[in-house]
């Protein structure tokens, strides 16, 4: 009976000692800087990209403009269905990092799966905004004339 009590005391003491040693060790553990890799990657519409969180952990939250994945691992595979620049954020342990995914339009015909040749680009705007600006300006001038006439008529009374 006495031996059993001694064993229990030793076990409890050992457990407390282990916990007391672990707490400062955990508290003083260095928090590594969180980063997202690769920092910038190019893909095409619908193409998977694999992003990896470096540092931080053990769990990560991954956020895109239309998806939030909470408490998952350090690897995140994502694809986008619109061309353009997309930013993917990863957070862990109060740190945030981001990767930039550049999505190019696809040249694959969705019905046949065969590559298609693009048409030549639209590389001009023909001063179109100047005409819009001129129209707005003319509208403003006419409205000012109308207001002036009304004001003049009112003051003449």
């Amino acid at each position: 009976m006495k031996n059993q009590l001694n064993r229990i005391f030793i076990a409890i003491f050992g457990l407390l000692f282990a916990v007391s040693m672990a707490i400062p060790a955990t508290a003083s553990a260095q928090v590594t800087q969180l980063a997202c890799s690769p920092g910038r990657i190019t893909t095409t519409v619908g193409g998977d990209v694999e992003l990896r969180a470096l540092g931080g952990g053990p769990t990560f939250n991954w956020v895109t403009e239309n998806r939030i994945m909470l408490n998952i691992g350090s690897v995140f595979v994502v694809d986008f269905d619109t061309p353009g620049i997309h930013v993917v954020h990863v957070t862990s342990q109060y740190q945030t990092a981001f990767c930039v995914v550049e999505v190019l339009g696809s040249t694959t015909n969705p019905s046949t799966g065969t590559p298609t040749t693009p048409q030549l680009p639209n590389t001009g705007a023909g001063s179109s905004l100047v005409y819009v600006g001129a129209l707005i300006f003319l509208a403003y001038v006419f409205s000012m004339i109308a207001v002036s006439k009304k004001t003049f008529a009112y003051l003449s009374k």
Binding site: L104, T107, P118, Q119, P121, N122, T123, G124, G133
Partner: protein, 191 residues
Amino acid sequence: MPLAVIIATLFISIGAVDLATGGSSIPSTSVQTESRTVVGEILPSQIRIPALGIITQVEHVGVTEQGRMQASKRFENVAWYALGSRPGSSGSAVFAGHLDNGLGMPGVFAHLGKATEGDRIYVRDIHGLEKVYEVVRTASYGLYDAPSEDIFRTSGEEVLVLITCDGKWVASDKTYDRRLVVFAKPLNLIP
């Protein structure tokens, strides 16, 4: 009247009305001073055409939802078709630059039509590695008549292709009715 003054001042300040140069200014950006001509393909980051006073950054682009090659986001930059061939590899490395913008300001390729046979084109990557090309011919195609299969080919003889708008502005289509295409072949400057 004060609004007219404000609008005029605004247009002049942003360059829409280029009184100093008669609208012929060409946007330029900083340029690396050292380069090394290389064999093999490069990922373009800068393009330079001394004969036309063009030095500009390269944006990597794909295609639009309508199936057109995307244009550069900034009208003073040049777009490179990243889904096609790279400079230095077989096929066509296709670059496109704006003729103008909505305010009538000249784009990076506003004077591409002045390119003549023998003009040199320098394409550089971020490490300063450079490919050199020489203009061999220019052509103007109707928007829907351009030989896209040839312009965007990914195999065969190496060629550099520069594209910009040409012809008349078609307001209903919001585009010009022609495209100016400059073809250049690589120069082997390495002894």
